[in-house]
């Protein structure tokens, strides 16, 4: 194994079912270090499920999945170790409402990594600056707009210094103006070399920021390529999907 080119995420023929309904029907997908991969597709195409498999929120029945050196098919995969390497941001932010922005951001570093309180404060300042929220350290989530809350959620994940970031439809609950500020924060991360996978409905964003776009359809990777593939779809399904998008 050569370290440099070893993919950070590798799906191989991954199958996942809920009861008798197979939602992922053999996914093959690789994410190289530093790469930004956008998963697009209709609701129910399996893109969120695939993303949630990456940090072990969903388990799968067959196939292989390696993430940051963790073998997720293994019976005894250490999910807590995995989650120190993989951050995730959700559509509904899921900030802790009883904690200030700073406490939200520093809870996991303090409790999981044993970071001291002075160091944690410094860490909070650093990651909140990255998402442009240095002035909101002492605010509570309910005092922030949706876009600000989502950026705090991003900062909260960054504070664990993950090697890989997952974004699950993080702008779907936001109006266009707030969507912009969140997407810019993600763009900045991408340009800093963060490896990331994002499920998104923002086609223009996927095209501009992603090194690789993955179109999923009916539980399969239907078409994949660089961002510009959205301008020239090879399959009828993708053509129809982006038809009124770009």
């Amino acid at each position: 194994m050569s370290g440099a080119t070893h993919p950070m995420v590798r799906f191989h023929n991954l199958h996942k079912s809920y009861g008798r309904v197979e939602v992922l029907k053999g996914i093959d997908l690789e994410v190289a270090p530093g790469q930004v991969v956008a998963l697009i597709g209709r609701s129910g195409s399996g893109k969120s499920t695939a993303l949630r498999c990456v940090n072990g929120l969903e388990r799968f029945q067959a196939g292989e999945l390696h993430v940051c050196g963790h073998d997720l098919a293994a019976e005894k995969v250490d999910l807590r170790k995995l989650r120190q390497d993989v951050g995730i941001v959700f559509q509904s932010y899921n900030l802790f409402p009883h904690l200030t922005v700073e406490q939200n951001v520093t809870l996991a570093p303090r409790k999981v990594k044993g970071v001291g309180s002075a160091e944690a404060r410094e860490l909070a300042r650093e990651v909140l600056a990255q998402v442009g929220l240095s002035d909101k350290v002492q605010s509570y989530p309910e005092e922030l707009s949706g876009g600000q809350q989502q950026r705090v959620a991003i900062a909260r994940s960054l504070a664990m210094h993950p090697r890989l970031m997952l974004f699950d439809e993080v702008t779907s609950a936001l109006d266009p103006e707030l969507t912009g500020e969140v997407l810019r924060a993600i763009e900045r991360l991408a340009s800093n070399g963060m490896t990331m996978m994002l499920v998104t409905h923002e086609m223009a964003f996927a095209r501009s920021v992603a090194d690789q776009v993955v179109f999923m359809h009916q539980g399969r990777v239907w078409e994949t390529g660089p961002g510009d593939m959205l301008l020239d779809p090879q399959t009828a399904e993708l053509r129809q999907f982006v038809g009124n998008g770009l």
Partner: protein, 214 residues
């Protein structure tokens, strides 16, 4: 005053003091017993849920005076002579614990599942998720119904009269027996109960409104 001597009125108030003591015992004991019950009721392990829910169902299905009798005479059968306060305190603990456990179970489950998930994704251990993320939110939700239930505890301590525990109801009964002024005596007792309970009801309502505003 009202046809009662100062000593007689003081005697009634003395009983009220013991009502408060028993209420506190019931609340503290109920908390110690109810919190693990709440956790067990919302645990993942099935056997924990079955045992704890059986316990809750049983206690809730027995009238409090009967619990008082069972505890009081149950302990004496074992050959131990216990003061009525201990028996009453134990009975109140069982009673309050069963109800508080149910209330708190609901509060824990009222915290959205996504909060567990977010905490899990930050690599927190299960106890850490509970202590730092779920519990503080559940506590906030729990304050109004808990304070509301305190009123039930205070009122229901009066059942301890069945095992001759000296409380407000008991002292009122004694004074009535010697003065034969039941209306006056029990009205005084009623007013004292009300004076203890009403502020708590008001507080519970205020907490409730505050919670809904946020």
């Amino acid at each position: 005053m009202l046809g009662l001597t100062v000593q007689q009125i003081a005697y009634i108030f003395q009983g009220a003091g013991w009502t408060i003591v028993l209420s506190l015992l019931g609340f503290v004991g109920g908390t110690i017993f109810g919190l693990p019950l709440a956790l067990a009721r919302s645990a993942r392990a099935r056997w924990l849920r079955v045992i704890s829910s059986g316990l809750v169902q049983f206690i809730q299905g027995v009238p409090l005076p009967v619990i008082m009798f069972v505890v009081y005479f149950g302990i004496s059968i074992g050959g131990f002579e216990v003061p009525a306060l201990v028996a009453a305190g134990l009975a109140m603990t069982l009673y309050a614990g069963a109800y508080l456990g149910e209330i708190w179970k609901g509060c824990i489950q009222a915290v959205p599942k996504t909060q567990w998930e977010a905490a899990e994704c930050l690599a927190l251990t299960k106890p850490q998720r509970f202590v730092h993320v779920i519990l503080p939110q559940a506590l906030r939700i729990a304050i109004p119904p808990t304070v509301g239930f305190l009123v039930q505890i205070v009122k229901n301590t009066s059942y301890a009269v069945v095992i001759n525990f000296f409380d407000l109801t008991y002292s009122a009964k004694v004074i009535n027996n010697s003065t034969f002024k039941p209306f006056t005596v029990f009205t005084i007792a009623a007013l004292i109960y009300f004076a203890i309970c009403f502020p708590m009801s008001v507080m519970a309502r205020r907490f409730e409104r505050k919670l809904h505003r946020n």
